[in-house]
Amino acid sequence: MDAELIAMQLFSGVALGAILIMVALGLSIIFGMLGVVNFAHGALFMVGAYAGLWVASLTGSFWWGLLIAPVAIGAFGMLIERFLIRPLYKRSVDDPLLLTFGLGYVLVEAVRIIFGSDGIPFQTPPELSGVADLGIGFFPIYRLFVVAVVAVILLLLWLGLEKTKFGLIVRAGAKDPQIMRVLGIDISKVWLLVFGLGIGLTALGGVLAAPMRNVNPEMGSLVLAEAFVVTVIGGMGSLVGAIVAGLLVGVAISMTALFAPEMATIVMFALMALVLLVRPHGLFGKPVRG
């Protein structure tokens, strides 16, 4: 193996991790704040991709799809929180998990009814197609673009969390939900927004992934499993954890692809099992008490 190949492989791992981060971040934010494990997260990733495709075909521009779809699906996520998940907060933590599990089924089938079960082509926008010479090898321009977008989103998210009042509330709430009640903040409004934000992020991930992987109703299923792995490794509820674990898993997959390619999927679950056995609450998670 030459060094250039390994460097390329590392880079494709990072690019792969970028999409994982988008999905896992939403999953983690929602769990950290609301205590909800969203099993419909993968389905909403897929719905995001379809929404992006639909908007892009209406407007004739990928950019509108990239802009509008995540916002629209984020709003749709708020409806889900308001009408399906909110009634369950007083109940066992298992209930929202089970509800979203059923919701995943419904969303996938709804998309099959509307868009067909076959999948739809999603062309890479012409201004981003082609390959770039990185010096160590060739890499698709679109994938470089994805890494850049994710980096910008992470930066915006960081600024939002550190510099705004809403961010302050979210950070405080993730540490101790009790404190918001004390401060007289309307938690339900915060939760609504956080859920919408989390879903918006996964929908954005879906739109970004679409030109690489095409669009089909089952595309969320594998992504969900991957996002769970990332979130659990990083520690559920930890944003830094989601980012670090997303990159870690991406690189682990790409390195396995180089040395033992057929193990590329299994390595993810093995990594997760290993982390859980050594640190049951993940790399950056807080221990659960009970």
Partner: protein
């Protein structure tokens, strides 16, 4: 959800006779189950469906021991169901083991796996427990996919059709659907009897105590981790038995049996019928499979109906079909 479904269970633990019809129902639950199972193939559209209800009902019963009675939401029970099936198929197909010994091997293999996965996972709590069981069962899935010389990989395991059962000089035509059903039913009934015994036993009370309040159960002097591990293993054993029956019934073991979608289906069935109740899981399996069977005849979009019904149950009838029926009757 686990907590809210258990007033049924509270009743069972009271001495018989004090609570009228409910206590009588509890006392007669095994004979009633036998009666219902005997009638099943005559009531359902097909015998193959009846066998499926039997098998998935049994998986759900095993799962319910852990989820409904111990309060642990596992997302990895497909691993034990599948391992039971694979072990039986491999024992018959590759080693020529007689069918009854293959059943025993299947149960042992699934139970042993449950013990190991239980050992690793019960140290974690809450949502992490669900995630660890999910991850470990996916590892089992990928292992089966890779070990194709043993399992047939993605093609599934085949080549172990049992056409005739020989026992004590008797020969039963195992291709006759009705005879097959009743043979498999004997095993399912034995498992149901065992589960009923467990629920009535002192250990059954311990499980409910753990589900209700783990901290207090520990303070009372129970080794919670050990009790959970036993519950996990027993639950795995019963799911493995269901797996062996599935292998004998279909004469194949599909790789999908190990996928987490199967685990999800088991959870859905248990909830639909009513977690934490004795009849609930069977009723859930019946309702789920019947719904899928009927709906898939008039639309290929059956998943939207099944998923929608499931959402409505979580929202409005968290006690499931049987649990809700019981509370209605009790007027609560």
């Amino acid at each position: 959800m686990t907590a809210s479904t258990s007033s049924v269970a509270a009743v069972m633990s009271g001495p018989a006779g004090r609570r009228g019809w409910r206590a009588r129902l509890t006392a007669w639950r095994v004979p009633l189950s036998i009666l219902a199972l005997c009638l099943l193939p005559w009531l359902l559209p097909s015998q193959a469906l009846a066998v499926n209800v039997l098998i998935y009902g049994l998986v759900a019963v095993g799962y319910n021991l852990l989820f409904g009675y111990t309060g642990l939401l596992s997302f990895g029970h497909a691993a034990f169901f599948g391992t039971g099936a694979y072990a039986t198929g491999i024992a018959i197909g590759q080693f020529g083991v007689p069918w009854y010994a293959a059943i025993a091997l299947g149960i042992l293999a699934g139970g042993a796996l449950a013990f190991v996965i239980g050992l690793l996972s019960i140290r974690t709590r809450g949502i992490y427990f669900s995630m660890v069981t999910l991850a470990l069962s996916q590892l089992v899935y990928y292992t089966a996919l890779q070990a194709s010389s043993w399992t047939g990989g993605e093609n599934g395991l085949r080549g172990f059709t049992v056409a005739k059962l020989d026992l004590f000089g008797w020969t039963i035509d195992f291709l006759d659907p009705l005879k097959k059903y009743y043979v498999l039913m004997v095993f399912a009934v034995a498992a149901l009897w065992l589960v009923s015994r467990i629920l009535n036993s002192p250990f059954g009370a311990v499980l409910e105590a753990i589900r209700e309040n783990e901290t207090r159960a520990r303070a009372c002097g129970y080794d919670v981790e050990r009790s959970k591990l036993i519950s996990f293993t027993l639950s795995g054993l019963i799911c493995a038995l269901a797996g062996t029956l599935s292998a004998l019934h279909l004469a194949i073991v599909p790789l999908d049996i190990l996928h987490y979608h199967t685990s999800g289906m088991i959870v859905m069935m248990t909830l639909l019928g009513g977690a934490g109740s004795f009849f609930g899981p069977f009723i859930g399996a019946l309702a789920f499979l019947l719904m899928e069977d009927v709906v898939s005849l008039w639309t290929s979009h059956w998943q939207i109906v099944v998923g929608g019904v499931f959402i409505l149950f979580v929202l409005f009838l968290p006690k499931g079909i049987w649990g809700t029926a019981l509370s209605w009757r009790a007027g609560r």
